[in-house]
Point group: C2
Chain length 200, copies 2
DNA sequence: TGACAAAACGAACGGTCGTACTATTATAGG
DNA sequence: CCTATAATAGTACGACCGTTCGTTTTGTCA
């Protein structure tokens, strides 16, 4: 890898970390350069605009998400084990991977009504994530772990709500029971997704 | 009401609206003044600092939340009807009350790791909200609409997750089925909260 | 090693930020 | 109506914003 590309990666890593703390818009070129001990102009030369930097930061975060959450999950047996791995990995991602919490959730709130390249990129990543949850659920259906009547999209909706609530309870409310609340919700979600004969 | 107080209210109304679109930090004194056709300094004179303005904006939003969501709910019969009213009113609040969606959810993500007066104020409002949900659930228990074994705090957790997911599906994903997804989740939540003999 | 390209730098741009003053205008009570 | 006070405007400040440009340093390869 050329030196330029390596530097670019360093910048993006730091940009992602910083975004999780102060939001994608809160990241300023000046502060980013200061943290990386670079000049503003030297840093800026790697990108066409701040918007482009924000988009690249999203991509970098998505790649890390795949490495931390998705890939390990795919190594588990198809069906329920994967769904459970997805849940556990995602919890870790949500609260432990970055100092400032999940970048995607923050960005979703920040850009949900601000049309443009950043929102488009974010939307694509989020759709991918939702699809991934639904796919995992539908595999569990095929494996007979979940009921055939289960709506995988509805499963994804509930799953996502559970994660957002966990983020909220952990990071803003500082609730010590957040984890057990999430576990309880997840267990209930799994329970009611099971085939009738296997339930309880 | 004195003229000054009236102006202050106008400012805060606009600040809340603007916050929902661009976040509490995205609101700048200059832009706010422009929208209100005031001078920056004339506007600023009503507050001690931007931070104070942000806190007041949160209070203004909270007052409106009570007027739009809480008060109408309290007019319903105790128990399940109140919980259902809470749900319906909150859905409206989440997506229709402001152009930019729910200010509290956005602020929660924005300030969850930024200590200070704004975070503290927000935290207080959020705790109030969670308590209010739990209280509604526990009244439903007392009325026999929900099972005695129900944990009202867990109910609040699930309720809140459902709302956040709704916000996400509506505003970022633009999902046409968002409402029916939310309704489905809520129905399931109510179903599993019921006393055993009344279920199904 | 010398030449060329890539990468990082320093300085500067016009603009806007939050905030602090002073000056002006509008409002209200005697 | 006049005056005291409240409300708004004007101006300026230093800091930082994203961005551009020309220069200098660093890296690469014939």
């Amino acid at each position: 890898m050329s030196k330029g590309a390596a530097t670019c990666d360093r910048i993006l890593e730091q940009a992602v970390e910083m975004s999780s703390e102060v939001g994608l818009d809160g990241v300023t070129i000046g502060e980013l350069a200061k943290r990386l001990k670079m000049s503003k102009s030297g840093l800026y030369a790697h990108f066409d605009s701040k918007e482009a930097l924000q988009c690249s930061a999203l991509d970098t975060a998505a790649a890390r998400f795949i490495a931390v959450v998705v890939t390990p999950m795919l190594k588990k047996p198809r069906g329920l084990p994967r769904v459970e791995a997805l849940y556990k990995n995602w919890l870790r991602w949500t609260t432990e991977e970055f100092r400032g919490g999940c970048l995607f959730m923050a960005a979703a709130m920040e850009f949900d009504d601000r049309p443009g390249a950043v929102r488009n990129r974010l939307l694509q990543h989020q759709r991918d994530m939702m699809d991934m949850i639904a796919r995992a659920a539908s595999i569990a259906v095929k494996e007979g772990h979940f009921a055939a009547s289960l709506d995988p999209e509805q499963f994804a909706y509930d799953f996502w709500g559970l994660l957002m609530a966990y983020h909220h309870y952990c990071r803003l409310l500082n609730c010590p029971q957040a984890r057990q609340r999430a576990d309880h919700s997840f267990k209930q979600l799994i329970e009611r997704s099971r085939p009738a004969q296997t339930a309880a």
